[in-house]
Point group: C2
Chain length 301, copies 2
Protein backbone atom coordinates (compact mmCIF):
# COMPACT_ATOMS: atom_id res chain seq x y z
CA UNK A 1 0.00 0.00 0.00
CA UNK A 2 1.48 3.27 -1.12
CA UNK A 3 0.28 6.75 -0.14
CA UNK A 4 1.22 9.80 -2.23
CA UNK A 5 0.69 13.26 -0.78
CA UNK A 6 -0.57 15.71 -3.41
CA UNK A 7 -1.17 18.58 -1.01
CA UNK A 8 -1.10 19.48 2.66
CA UNK A 9 -2.58 22.99 3.01
CA UNK A 10 -5.61 24.14 4.93
CA UNK A 11 -7.55 27.33 4.23
CA UNK A 12 -5.54 28.72 1.34
CA UNK A 13 -2.68 27.72 -0.94
CA UNK A 14 -0.17 29.69 1.10
CA UNK A 15 3.61 29.24 1.03
CA UNK A 16 3.33 27.12 -2.10
CA UNK A 17 1.39 24.39 -0.30
CA UNK A 18 -1.31 22.77 -2.43
CA UNK A 19 -4.70 21.83 -1.05
CA UNK A 20 -5.48 18.43 0.48
CA UNK A 21 -5.50 15.41 -1.80
CA UNK A 22 -3.85 12.00 -1.63
CA UNK A 23 -3.60 8.90 -3.76
CA UNK A 24 -3.62 5.44 -2.21
CA UNK A 25 -2.29 2.68 -4.45
CA UNK A 26 -2.54 -1.02 -3.87
CA UNK A 27 -1.16 -3.15 -6.70
CA UNK A 28 -2.90 -1.72 -9.78
CA UNK A 29 -5.74 -0.07 -7.86
CA UNK A 30 -5.79 3.70 -7.29
CA UNK A 31 -7.97 5.47 -4.74
CA UNK A 32 -8.20 9.22 -4.19
CA UNK A 33 -8.76 10.85 -0.83
CA UNK A 34 -10.07 14.43 -0.94
CA UNK A 35 -9.60 16.61 -3.97
CA UNK A 36 -8.80 20.25 -3.26
CA UNK A 37 -8.45 22.87 -5.98
CA UNK A 38 -5.46 22.09 -8.20
CA UNK A 39 -5.39 18.32 -7.59
CA UNK A 40 -5.35 17.73 -11.35
CA UNK A 41 -2.25 19.88 -11.66
CA UNK A 42 -0.57 18.08 -8.77
CA UNK A 43 -1.18 14.76 -10.48
CA UNK A 44 0.54 16.08 -13.61
CA UNK A 45 3.35 17.68 -11.65
CA UNK A 46 4.20 14.50 -9.81
CA UNK A 47 3.64 12.32 -12.88
CA UNK A 48 1.04 10.22 -11.14
CA UNK A 49 -1.36 8.01 -13.01
CA UNK A 50 -4.80 8.54 -11.53
CA UNK A 51 -7.01 7.68 -14.49
CA UNK A 52 -7.49 4.16 -13.14
CA UNK A 53 -9.14 5.60 -10.04
CA UNK A 54 -12.61 4.08 -9.52
CA UNK A 55 -13.30 5.40 -6.03
CA UNK A 56 -12.83 8.83 -4.48
CA UNK A 57 -13.24 9.23 -0.73
CA UNK A 58 -14.19 12.76 0.38
CA UNK A 59 -13.82 13.51 4.07
CA UNK A 60 -16.18 16.48 4.24
CA UNK A 61 -17.75 19.19 2.13
CA UNK A 62 -15.42 22.10 2.78
CA UNK A 63 -13.99 23.76 -0.28
CA UNK A 64 -10.35 23.05 0.47
CA UNK A 65 -11.19 19.33 0.17
CA UNK A 66 -13.53 19.29 -2.83
CA UNK A 67 -13.08 22.26 -5.18
CA UNK A 68 -10.72 20.25 -7.37
CA UNK A 69 -13.36 17.62 -8.10
CA UNK A 70 -15.16 19.63 -10.78
CA UNK A 71 -12.10 19.96 -12.99
CA UNK A 72 -11.00 16.39 -12.30
CA UNK A 73 -14.37 14.90 -13.27
CA UNK A 74 -14.74 17.16 -16.29
CA UNK A 75 -11.35 16.20 -17.63
CA UNK A 76 -11.97 12.51 -17.25
CA UNK A 77 -14.99 13.21 -19.44
CA UNK A 78 -12.82 14.99 -22.03
CA UNK A 79 -10.66 11.87 -22.11
CA UNK A 80 -13.77 9.77 -22.88
CA UNK A 81 -13.40 7.75 -19.71
CA UNK A 82 -15.91 4.90 -19.64
CA UNK A 83 -15.26 3.29 -16.25
CA UNK A 84 -17.80 4.33 -13.62
CA UNK A 85 -16.65 6.36 -10.64
CA UNK A 86 -17.86 6.03 -7.08
CA UNK A 87 -17.75 9.07 -4.81
CA UNK A 88 -17.96 8.35 -1.08
CA UNK A 89 -18.72 11.30 1.18
CA UNK A 90 -21.00 12.71 3.84
CA UNK A 91 -24.30 13.96 2.33
CA UNK A 92 -24.36 16.90 -0.08
CA UNK A 93 -21.72 16.05 -2.65
CA UNK A 94 -24.19 14.92 -5.27
CA UNK A 95 -26.00 18.26 -5.32
CA UNK A 96 -22.69 20.14 -5.53
CA UNK A 97 -21.40 18.06 -8.42
CA UNK A 98 -24.62 17.67 -10.36
CA UNK A 99 -25.61 21.34 -10.10
CA UNK A 100 -22.17 22.51 -11.15
CA UNK A 101 -21.86 20.14 -14.09
CA UNK A 102 -25.38 20.96 -15.29
CA UNK A 103 -24.72 24.72 -15.22
CA UNK A 104 -21.43 24.22 -17.05
CA UNK A 105 -23.08 22.05 -19.69
CA UNK A 106 -20.91 19.03 -18.88
CA UNK A 107 -22.22 15.63 -19.89
CA UNK A 108 -19.84 13.02 -18.57
CA UNK A 109 -18.93 10.00 -20.68
CA UNK A 110 -19.01 7.79 -17.60
CA UNK A 111 -21.36 7.07 -14.72
CA UNK A 112 -21.04 8.68 -11.30
CA UNK A 113 -22.29 6.84 -8.25
CA UNK A 114 -22.64 8.89 -5.10
CA UNK A 115 -22.36 6.89 -1.90
CA UNK A 116 -23.42 8.92 1.13
CA UNK A 117 -21.82 7.69 4.32
CA UNK A 118 -22.84 8.19 7.92
CA UNK A 119 -19.89 10.07 9.38
CA UNK A 120 -21.05 9.37 12.93
CA UNK A 121 -20.16 5.66 12.95
CA UNK A 122 -17.22 3.52 11.90
CA UNK A 123 -18.40 1.11 9.21
CA UNK A 124 -17.03 -0.70 6.22
CA UNK A 125 -18.34 1.18 3.18
CA UNK A 126 -16.24 -0.35 0.42
CA UNK A 127 -14.76 -3.77 -0.07
CA UNK A 128 -13.04 -5.63 -2.85
CA UNK A 129 -10.90 -8.79 -2.85
CA UNK A 130 -7.85 -6.86 -1.69
CA UNK A 131 -9.02 -4.30 0.82
CA UNK A 132 -11.74 -2.73 2.89
CA UNK A 133 -12.36 0.96 3.44
CA UNK A 134 -13.95 2.07 6.71
CA UNK A 135 -15.31 5.41 7.86
CA UNK A 136 -13.64 7.06 10.86
CA UNK A 137 -15.99 9.43 12.72
CA UNK A 138 -14.24 12.77 13.22
CA UNK A 139 -15.25 15.91 15.09
CA UNK A 140 -15.39 18.98 12.89
CA UNK A 141 -17.74 21.86 12.03
CA UNK A 142 -19.67 19.71 9.55
CA UNK A 143 -20.18 15.93 9.16
CA UNK A 144 -16.67 14.61 8.57
CA UNK A 145 -15.33 11.14 8.05
CA UNK A 146 -11.77 9.92 8.03
CA UNK A 147 -10.92 6.88 5.92
CA UNK A 148 -9.32 3.65 7.04
CA UNK A 149 -7.82 1.50 4.29
CA UNK A 150 -7.36 -2.01 5.58
CA UNK A 151 -5.63 -4.50 3.31
CA UNK A 152 -7.01 -8.03 3.46
CA UNK A 153 -4.73 -10.95 4.25
CA UNK A 154 -3.22 -12.07 0.98
CA UNK A 155 -3.08 -15.73 -0.07
CA UNK A 156 -0.07 -17.71 1.16
CA UNK A 157 2.90 -17.66 -1.20
CA UNK A 158 3.61 -21.04 -2.76
CA UNK A 159 7.28 -22.04 -2.88
CA UNK A 160 8.15 -22.59 -6.57
CA UNK A 161 10.60 -25.40 -5.82
CA UNK A 162 7.80 -27.38 -4.19
CA UNK A 163 5.68 -27.24 -7.34
CA UNK A 164 8.62 -28.86 -9.12
CA UNK A 165 9.41 -31.32 -6.35
CA UNK A 166 5.86 -32.68 -5.97
CA UNK A 167 4.73 -32.01 -9.55
CA UNK A 168 1.76 -30.10 -8.16
CA UNK A 169 -1.03 -29.85 -10.76
CA UNK A 170 -2.01 -26.29 -11.68
CA UNK A 171 -5.59 -26.68 -10.49
CA UNK A 172 -4.51 -27.46 -6.91
CA UNK A 173 -2.47 -24.29 -6.51
CA UNK A 174 -5.32 -21.92 -5.49
CA UNK A 175 -6.32 -24.33 -2.72
CA UNK A 176 -2.75 -24.62 -1.45
CA UNK A 177 -2.41 -20.83 -1.48
CA UNK A 178 -5.61 -20.72 0.57
CA UNK A 179 -4.01 -23.04 3.17
CA UNK A 180 -4.86 -26.60 2.09
CA UNK A 181 -2.43 -29.50 2.47
CA UNK A 182 -1.35 -31.48 -0.58
CA UNK A 183 -2.50 -35.08 -0.91
CA UNK A 184 -0.11 -37.00 -3.17
CA UNK A 185 -1.43 -39.68 -5.58
CA UNK A 186 -0.24 -42.46 -3.24
CA UNK A 187 -2.05 -40.87 -0.28
CA UNK A 188 0.80 -39.18 1.55
CA UNK A 189 -0.02 -35.73 2.90
CA UNK A 190 2.38 -32.81 2.56
CA UNK A 191 1.42 -30.19 5.12
CA UNK A 192 0.72 -26.71 3.81
CA UNK A 193 3.47 -25.24 6.01
CA UNK A 194 6.05 -27.10 3.93
CA UNK A 195 4.63 -25.86 0.65
CA UNK A 196 4.01 -22.20 1.35
CA UNK A 197 5.38 -19.11 3.01
CA UNK A 198 3.42 -16.66 5.13
CA UNK A 199 2.00 -13.81 3.07
CA UNK A 200 3.16 -10.31 3.94
CA UNK A 201 1.27 -8.90 6.91
CA UNK A 202 -1.75 -6.88 5.69
CA UNK A 203 -1.20 -3.16 5.99
CA UNK A 204 -3.54 -0.44 7.15
CA UNK A 205 -3.58 3.29 6.48
CA UNK A 206 -5.79 5.80 8.26
CA UNK A 207 -6.54 9.34 7.07
CA UNK A 208 -7.94 11.74 9.68
CA UNK A 209 -8.72 15.24 8.43
CA UNK A 210 -10.32 17.58 9.52
CA UNK A 211 -10.89 17.04 13.20
CA UNK A 212 -10.54 18.42 16.67
CA UNK A 213 -8.79 16.10 19.13
CA UNK A 214 -11.26 13.23 19.30
CA UNK A 215 -10.55 10.27 21.59
CA UNK A 216 -12.85 7.77 19.82
CA UNK A 217 -10.51 7.95 16.82
CA UNK A 218 -7.91 6.03 18.84
CA UNK A 219 -9.94 2.84 18.94
CA UNK A 220 -10.71 2.94 15.21
CA UNK A 221 -7.14 3.50 14.04
CA UNK A 222 -5.52 1.24 16.65
CA UNK A 223 -2.32 -0.36 15.35
CA UNK A 224 -2.46 0.94 11.78
CA UNK A 225 0.88 1.04 10.01
CA UNK A 226 0.50 4.62 8.86
CA UNK A 227 -1.69 7.36 10.29
CA UNK A 228 -2.20 10.72 8.60
CA UNK A 229 -3.63 13.08 11.18
CA UNK A 230 -4.29 16.74 10.58
CA UNK A 231 -2.16 19.18 12.57
CA UNK A 232 -3.51 22.51 11.44
CA UNK A 233 -1.97 24.29 14.43
CA UNK A 234 0.77 23.95 17.02
CA UNK A 235 0.00 24.02 20.73
CA UNK A 236 0.72 27.74 20.80
CA UNK A 237 -2.63 28.14 19.02
CA UNK A 238 -4.55 25.54 21.03
CA UNK A 239 -7.48 27.88 21.68
CA UNK A 240 -7.82 28.58 17.97
CA UNK A 241 -7.66 24.85 17.24
CA UNK A 242 -10.54 24.24 19.61
CA UNK A 243 -12.69 27.03 18.20
CA UNK A 244 -12.14 25.97 14.59
CA UNK A 245 -12.35 22.25 15.50
CA UNK A 246 -8.89 21.40 14.25
CA UNK A 247 -5.97 19.68 15.96
CA UNK A 248 -2.51 20.68 17.04
CA UNK A 249 0.57 18.64 16.18
CA UNK A 250 0.80 17.55 19.82
CA UNK A 251 -2.78 16.31 19.74
CA UNK A 252 -2.14 14.37 16.53
CA UNK A 253 0.89 12.77 18.18
CA UNK A 254 -1.18 11.92 21.26
CA UNK A 255 -3.65 10.05 19.05
CA UNK A 256 -0.78 8.25 17.29
CA UNK A 257 0.85 7.25 20.58
CA UNK A 258 -2.30 6.00 22.26
CA UNK A 259 -3.36 4.12 19.12
CA UNK A 260 0.06 2.51 18.85
CA UNK A 261 0.40 3.24 15.15
CA UNK A 262 3.58 2.53 13.21
CA UNK A 263 4.17 5.99 11.81
CA UNK A 264 2.48 9.39 11.94
CA UNK A 265 2.15 11.90 9.11
CA UNK A 266 1.21 15.48 9.91
CA UNK A 267 -0.61 17.70 7.43
CA UNK A 268 -3.31 20.32 6.72
CA UNK A 269 -1.17 23.18 7.95
CA UNK A 270 -2.61 26.62 8.56
CA UNK A 271 -1.30 29.39 6.32
CA UNK A 272 -0.06 31.24 9.39
CA UNK A 273 2.96 28.92 9.53
CA UNK A 274 5.63 29.63 6.94
CA UNK A 275 7.32 26.34 7.81
CA UNK A 276 6.38 23.21 9.71
CA UNK A 277 9.47 22.70 11.87
CA UNK A 278 7.57 23.46 15.05
CA UNK A 279 4.80 21.03 14.18
CA UNK A 280 7.35 18.27 13.71
CA UNK A 281 9.30 19.04 16.87
CA UNK A 282 6.11 19.25 18.93
CA UNK A 283 4.83 15.92 17.62
CA UNK A 284 8.13 14.08 18.04
CA UNK A 285 8.29 14.97 21.71
CA UNK A 286 5.22 12.76 22.11
CA UNK A 287 5.54 10.30 19.22
CA UNK A 288 9.00 9.82 17.78
CA UNK A 289 8.12 8.29 14.40
CA UNK A 290 6.37 11.38 13.08
CA UNK A 291 6.94 13.14 9.77
CA UNK A 292 5.56 15.95 7.69
CA UNK A 293 3.24 14.86 4.86
CA UNK A 294 5.25 16.81 2.31
CA UNK A 295 3.72 17.36 -1.11
CA UNK A 296 5.01 14.80 -3.58
CA UNK A 297 6.29 12.35 -0.99
CA UNK A 298 5.36 8.70 -1.14
CA UNK A 299 4.88 6.68 2.01
CA UNK A 300 4.69 2.94 1.94
CA UNK A 301 2.44 1.34 4.52
CA UNK B 1 -3.67 49.72 -18.73
CA UNK B 2 -1.76 46.57 -17.90
CA UNK B 3 -2.84 43.02 -18.70
CA UNK B 4 -1.29 40.07 -16.83
CA UNK B 5 -1.78 36.56 -18.18
CA UNK B 6 -2.37 34.04 -15.39
CA UNK B 7 -3.14 31.11 -17.66
CA UNK B 8 -3.63 30.19 -21.30
CA UNK B 9 -4.86 26.56 -21.41
CA UNK B 10 -8.06 25.17 -22.79
CA UNK B 11 -9.59 21.85 -21.78
CA UNK B 12 -7.02 20.62 -19.30
CA UNK B 13 -3.90 21.88 -17.54
CA UNK B 14 -1.63 20.10 -20.00
CA UNK B 15 2.06 20.84 -20.57
CA UNK B 16 2.15 22.96 -17.42
CA UNK B 17 -0.28 25.51 -18.84
CA UNK B 18 -2.70 26.93 -16.28
CA UNK B 19 -6.34 27.59 -17.05
CA UNK B 20 -7.64 30.90 -18.39
CA UNK B 21 -7.50 33.93 -16.12
CA UNK B 22 -6.20 37.45 -16.55
CA UNK B 23 -5.83 40.58 -14.48
CA UNK B 24 -6.41 44.02 -15.96
CA UNK B 25 -4.94 46.89 -13.97
CA UNK B 26 -5.57 50.56 -14.48
CA UNK B 27 -3.90 52.83 -11.93
CA UNK B 28 -4.97 51.28 -8.61
CA UNK B 29 -7.95 49.38 -10.01
CA UNK B 30 -7.79 45.62 -10.58
CA UNK B 31 -10.23 43.65 -12.73
CA UNK B 32 -10.24 39.90 -13.25
CA UNK B 33 -11.25 38.19 -16.49
CA UNK B 34 -12.22 34.53 -16.18
CA UNK B 35 -11.06 32.41 -13.28
CA UNK B 36 -10.10 28.84 -14.15
CA UNK B 37 -9.07 26.29 -11.54
CA UNK B 38 -5.82 27.33 -9.88
CA UNK B 39 -6.16 31.07 -10.47
CA UNK B 40 -5.52 31.70 -6.76
CA UNK B 41 -2.25 29.80 -7.01
CA UNK B 42 -1.26 31.71 -10.13
CA UNK B 43 -1.82 34.99 -8.32
CA UNK B 44 0.51 33.84 -5.55
CA UNK B 45 3.06 32.46 -7.96
CA UNK B 46 3.33 35.68 -9.91
CA UNK B 47 3.14 37.82 -6.77
CA UNK B 48 0.10 39.70 -8.03
CA UNK B 49 -2.10 41.71 -5.74
CA UNK B 50 -5.69 40.90 -6.61
CA UNK B 51 -7.42 41.60 -3.29
CA UNK B 52 -8.41 45.06 -4.52
CA UNK B 53 -10.45 43.48 -7.30
CA UNK B 54 -14.06 44.69 -7.20
CA UNK B 55 -15.25 43.31 -10.54
CA UNK B 56 -14.77 39.92 -12.18
CA UNK B 57 -15.79 39.45 -15.80
CA UNK B 58 -16.62 35.85 -16.74
CA UNK B 59 -16.84 35.11 -20.46
CA UNK B 60 -18.94 31.97 -20.21
CA UNK B 61 -19.90 29.14 -17.90
CA UNK B 62 -17.50 26.43 -18.96
CA UNK B 63 -15.43 24.91 -16.20
CA UNK B 64 -12.04 25.90 -17.57
CA UNK B 65 -13.11 29.54 -17.11
CA UNK B 66 -14.90 29.43 -13.74
CA UNK B 67 -13.81 26.52 -11.54
CA UNK B 68 -11.26 28.73 -9.77
CA UNK B 69 -13.95 31.14 -8.58
CA UNK B 70 -15.09 29.01 -5.65
CA UNK B 71 -11.68 28.94 -4.00
CA UNK B 72 -11.00 32.59 -4.84
CA UNK B 73 -14.27 33.81 -3.30
CA UNK B 74 -13.93 31.54 -0.26
CA UNK B 75 -10.45 32.78 0.48
CA UNK B 76 -11.42 36.42 0.24
CA UNK B 77 -13.95 35.48 2.91
CA UNK B 78 -11.23 33.91 5.08
CA UNK B 79 -9.34 37.19 4.81
CA UNK B 80 -12.43 39.03 6.13
CA UNK B 81 -12.79 41.05 2.97
CA UNK B 82 -15.50 43.69 3.34
CA UNK B 83 -15.58 45.32 -0.10
CA UNK B 84 -18.45 44.06 -2.27
CA UNK B 85 -17.66 42.12 -5.42
CA UNK B 86 -19.48 42.32 -8.72
CA UNK B 87 -19.53 39.29 -10.99
CA UNK B 88 -20.44 39.95 -14.63
CA UNK B 89 -21.33 36.94 -16.74
CA UNK B 90 -23.91 35.32 -18.96
CA UNK B 91 -26.79 33.82 -16.91
CA UNK B 92 -26.18 30.91 -14.55
CA UNK B 93 -23.21 31.99 -12.48
CA UNK B 94 -25.29 32.95 -9.46
CA UNK B 95 -26.78 29.46 -9.12
CA UNK B 96 -23.34 27.85 -9.50
CA UNK B 97 -21.74 30.06 -6.86
CA UNK B 98 -24.60 30.20 -4.39
CA UNK B 99 -25.32 26.47 -4.50
CA UNK B 100 -21.66 25.58 -4.07
CA UNK B 101 -21.04 27.99 -1.21
CA UNK B 102 -24.23 26.89 0.57
CA UNK B 103 -23.30 23.20 0.36
CA UNK B 104 -19.79 23.98 1.59
CA UNK B 105 -21.12 26.02 4.50
CA UNK B 106 -19.36 29.20 3.36
CA UNK B 107 -20.75 32.49 4.61
CA UNK B 108 -18.86 35.26 2.92
CA UNK B 109 -17.85 38.36 4.85
CA UNK B 110 -18.66 40.55 1.85
CA UNK B 111 -21.51 41.06 -0.59
CA UNK B 112 -21.67 39.45 -4.02
CA UNK B 113 -23.56 41.18 -6.80
CA UNK B 114 -24.30 39.08 -9.85
CA UNK B 115 -24.73 41.07 -13.05
CA UNK B 116 -26.12 38.93 -15.84
CA UNK B 117 -25.21 40.25 -19.26
CA UNK B 118 -26.79 39.65 -22.63
CA UNK B 119 -24.00 38.01 -24.58
CA UNK B 120 -25.81 38.57 -27.88
CA UNK B 121 -25.23 42.35 -28.03
CA UNK B 122 -22.34 44.73 -27.49
CA UNK B 123 -23.25 47.04 -24.62
CA UNK B 124 -21.52 49.00 -21.91
CA UNK B 125 -22.13 47.04 -18.70
CA UNK B 126 -19.72 48.76 -16.33
CA UNK B 127 -18.46 52.29 -16.09
CA UNK B 128 -16.44 54.31 -13.63
CA UNK B 129 -14.60 57.64 -13.99
CA UNK B 130 -11.64 55.94 -15.67
CA UNK B 131 -13.02 53.28 -17.94
CA UNK B 132 -15.92 51.48 -19.53
CA UNK B 133 -16.33 47.73 -19.98
CA UNK B 134 -18.36 46.46 -22.93
CA UNK B 135 -19.63 43.03 -23.87
CA UNK B 136 -18.36 41.50 -27.11
CA UNK B 137 -20.80 38.93 -28.56
CA UNK B 138 -18.89 35.74 -29.37
CA UNK B 139 -19.94 32.51 -31.05
CA UNK B 140 -19.46 29.45 -28.88
CA UNK B 141 -21.37 26.41 -27.66
CA UNK B 142 -23.03 28.42 -24.87
CA UNK B 143 -23.77 32.15 -24.38
CA UNK B 144 -20.33 33.74 -24.39
CA UNK B 145 -19.21 37.33 -24.08
CA UNK B 146 -15.81 38.83 -24.67
CA UNK B 147 -14.86 41.95 -22.72
CA UNK B 148 -13.75 45.29 -24.08
CA UNK B 149 -11.96 47.56 -21.61
CA UNK B 150 -12.03 51.08 -22.94
CA UNK B 151 -10.15 53.73 -21.00
CA UNK B 152 -11.81 57.13 -20.89
CA UNK B 153 -9.96 60.20 -22.06
CA UNK B 154 -8.01 61.51 -19.10
CA UNK B 155 -8.04 65.19 -18.09
CA UNK B 156 -5.46 67.39 -19.81
CA UNK B 157 -2.15 67.68 -17.96
CA UNK B 158 -1.53 71.15 -16.58
CA UNK B 159 2.00 72.46 -17.06
CA UNK B 160 3.44 73.17 -13.57
CA UNK B 161 5.45 76.19 -14.74
CA UNK B 162 2.23 77.88 -15.91
CA UNK B 163 0.68 77.62 -12.44
CA UNK B 164 3.70 79.52 -11.18
CA UNK B 165 3.81 82.02 -14.07
CA UNK B 166 0.15 83.03 -13.86
CA UNK B 167 -0.32 82.36 -10.15
CA UNK B 168 -3.30 80.16 -11.02
CA UNK B 169 -5.62 79.72 -8.01
CA UNK B 170 -6.09 76.10 -6.91
CA UNK B 171 -9.85 76.14 -7.51
CA UNK B 172 -9.43 76.96 -11.20
CA UNK B 173 -7.20 73.96 -11.92
CA UNK B 174 -9.92 71.32 -12.45
CA UNK B 175 -11.58 73.58 -15.03
CA UNK B 176 -8.32 74.13 -16.88
CA UNK B 177 -7.62 70.37 -16.87
CA UNK B 178 -11.09 69.97 -18.36
CA UNK B 179 -10.13 72.36 -21.20
CA UNK B 180 -11.13 75.86 -20.01
CA UNK B 181 -9.07 78.94 -20.79
CA UNK B 182 -7.70 81.10 -17.97
CA UNK B 183 -9.12 84.60 -17.47
CA UNK B 184 -6.60 86.76 -15.66
CA UNK B 185 -7.76 89.40 -13.08
CA UNK B 186 -7.23 92.24 -15.61
CA UNK B 187 -9.33 90.42 -18.22
CA UNK B 188 -6.66 88.93 -20.48
CA UNK B 189 -7.36 85.40 -21.67
CA UNK B 190 -4.70 82.71 -21.69
CA UNK B 191 -5.79 79.89 -24.05
CA UNK B 192 -5.92 76.41 -22.64
CA UNK B 193 -3.46 75.14 -25.23
CA UNK B 194 -0.76 77.29 -23.60
CA UNK B 195 -1.51 75.96 -20.13
CA UNK B 196 -1.89 72.26 -20.70
CA UNK B 197 -0.53 69.25 -22.52
CA UNK B 198 -2.58 66.60 -24.30
CA UNK B 199 -3.38 63.66 -22.03
CA UNK B 200 -2.08 60.26 -23.09
CA UNK B 201 -4.32 58.64 -25.69
CA UNK B 202 -6.93 56.42 -24.00
CA UNK B 203 -6.13 52.73 -24.39
CA UNK B 204 -8.42 49.83 -25.16
CA UNK B 205 -8.04 46.11 -24.51
CA UNK B 206 -10.32 43.41 -25.92
CA UNK B 207 -10.57 39.83 -24.63
CA UNK B 208 -12.19 37.31 -26.99
CA UNK B 209 -12.46 33.76 -25.63
CA UNK B 210 -14.02 31.31 -26.42
CA UNK B 211 -15.26 31.76 -29.96
CA UNK B 212 -15.39 30.38 -33.44
CA UNK B 213 -14.30 32.82 -36.15
CA UNK B 214 -16.98 35.49 -35.88
CA UNK B 215 -16.91 38.46 -38.23
CA UNK B 216 -19.08 40.79 -36.09
CA UNK B 217 -16.25 40.83 -33.53
CA UNK B 218 -14.20 42.94 -35.95
CA UNK B 219 -16.46 45.96 -35.68
CA UNK B 220 -16.58 45.83 -31.88
CA UNK B 221 -12.83 45.55 -31.34
CA UNK B 222 -11.87 47.92 -34.18
CA UNK B 223 -8.64 49.79 -33.44
CA UNK B 224 -8.05 48.51 -29.93
CA UNK B 225 -4.47 48.68 -28.76
CA UNK B 226 -4.34 45.10 -27.59
CA UNK B 227 -6.52 42.17 -28.64
CA UNK B 228 -6.47 38.81 -26.91
CA UNK B 229 -8.12 36.31 -29.21
CA UNK B 230 -8.38 32.61 -28.53
CA UNK B 231 -6.41 30.34 -30.86
CA UNK B 232 -7.27 26.91 -29.54
CA UNK B 233 -6.13 25.25 -32.76
CA UNK B 234 -3.90 25.79 -35.78
CA UNK B 235 -5.31 25.63 -39.28
CA UNK B 236 -4.29 21.98 -39.48
CA UNK B 237 -7.25 21.33 -37.17
CA UNK B 238 -9.70 23.74 -38.79
CA UNK B 239 -12.49 21.18 -38.93
CA UNK B 240 -12.12 20.48 -35.24
CA UNK B 241 -12.14 24.22 -34.52
CA UNK B 242 -15.43 24.55 -36.36
CA UNK B 243 -17.07 21.62 -34.61
CA UNK B 244 -16.01 22.75 -31.15
CA UNK B 245 -16.65 26.41 -31.99
CA UNK B 246 -13.12 27.57 -31.36
CA UNK B 247 -10.69 29.51 -33.55
CA UNK B 248 -7.40 28.78 -35.22
CA UNK B 249 -4.39 31.06 -34.89
CA UNK B 250 -4.88 32.16 -38.50
CA UNK B 251 -8.48 33.09 -37.80
CA UNK B 252 -7.46 35.10 -34.74
CA UNK B 253 -4.91 36.93 -36.88
CA UNK B 254 -7.54 37.59 -39.54
CA UNK B 255 -9.74 39.27 -36.94
CA UNK B 256 -6.77 41.31 -35.68
CA UNK B 257 -5.82 42.41 -39.19
CA UNK B 258 -9.29 43.40 -40.30
CA UNK B 259 -9.95 45.20 -37.00
CA UNK B 260 -6.67 47.09 -37.31
CA UNK B 261 -5.64 46.42 -33.74
CA UNK B 262 -2.25 47.40 -32.37
CA UNK B 263 -1.15 44.00 -31.13
CA UNK B 264 -2.55 40.49 -30.98
CA UNK B 265 -2.19 37.97 -28.16
CA UNK B 266 -2.95 34.32 -28.80
CA UNK B 267 -4.12 31.97 -26.07
CA UNK B 268 -6.43 29.14 -24.92
CA UNK B 269 -4.31 26.45 -26.52
CA UNK B 270 -5.55 22.90 -26.88
CA UNK B 271 -3.65 20.28 -24.93
CA UNK B 272 -2.81 18.50 -28.17
CA UNK B 273 -0.06 21.06 -28.83
CA UNK B 274 3.05 20.60 -26.73
CA UNK B 275 4.30 24.00 -27.84
CA UNK B 276 2.79 27.02 -29.54
CA UNK B 277 5.40 27.77 -32.19
CA UNK B 278 3.08 26.84 -35.00
CA UNK B 279 0.29 29.05 -33.66
CA UNK B 280 2.64 32.00 -33.62
CA UNK B 281 4.07 31.37 -37.07
CA UNK B 282 0.62 30.89 -38.56
CA UNK B 283 -0.70 34.11 -37.02
CA UNK B 284 2.33 36.21 -37.98
CA UNK B 285 1.92 35.31 -41.62
CA UNK B 286 -1.33 37.28 -41.49
CA UNK B 287 -0.73 39.75 -38.68
CA UNK B 288 2.88 40.54 -37.85
CA UNK B 289 2.47 42.01 -34.36
CA UNK B 290 1.23 38.80 -32.79
CA UNK B 291 2.50 37.12 -29.64
CA UNK B 292 1.73 34.21 -27.36
CA UNK B 293 -0.12 35.13 -24.18
CA UNK B 294 2.45 33.38 -22.03
CA UNK B 295 1.59 32.72 -18.41
CA UNK B 296 3.06 35.41 -16.17
CA UNK B 297 3.67 37.93 -18.93
CA UNK B 298 2.51 41.50 -18.59
CA UNK B 299 1.32 43.45 -21.60
CA UNK B 300 0.86 47.18 -21.48
CA UNK B 301 -1.92 48.59 -23.60
Amino acid sequence: MQVTILGNASGGPFHGRPYSAQLVQLDNQVFMIDCGEGTQMQIFKHRMKADACRQIFISHLHGDHIFGLLGMLTNWGHKKRSEPLQLFSPPGLQEFIETSLRICGVRLSYALEFVEVDASVSACVFENPKLEVWTIPLRHRCPTSGWLFREKTRPRTIRPEKIEEYQIPYDLIPGIKAGQDLVLPHGAIIPNAELTLDPPAPKAYAYCSDTAFHEPVIEVVKGVDLLYHEATFTNGHLAEAEISMHSTAAQAAEIAKRAGVGRLLLGHFSGRYTDTDLHLAEARLIFENADIAEEGQVFVG
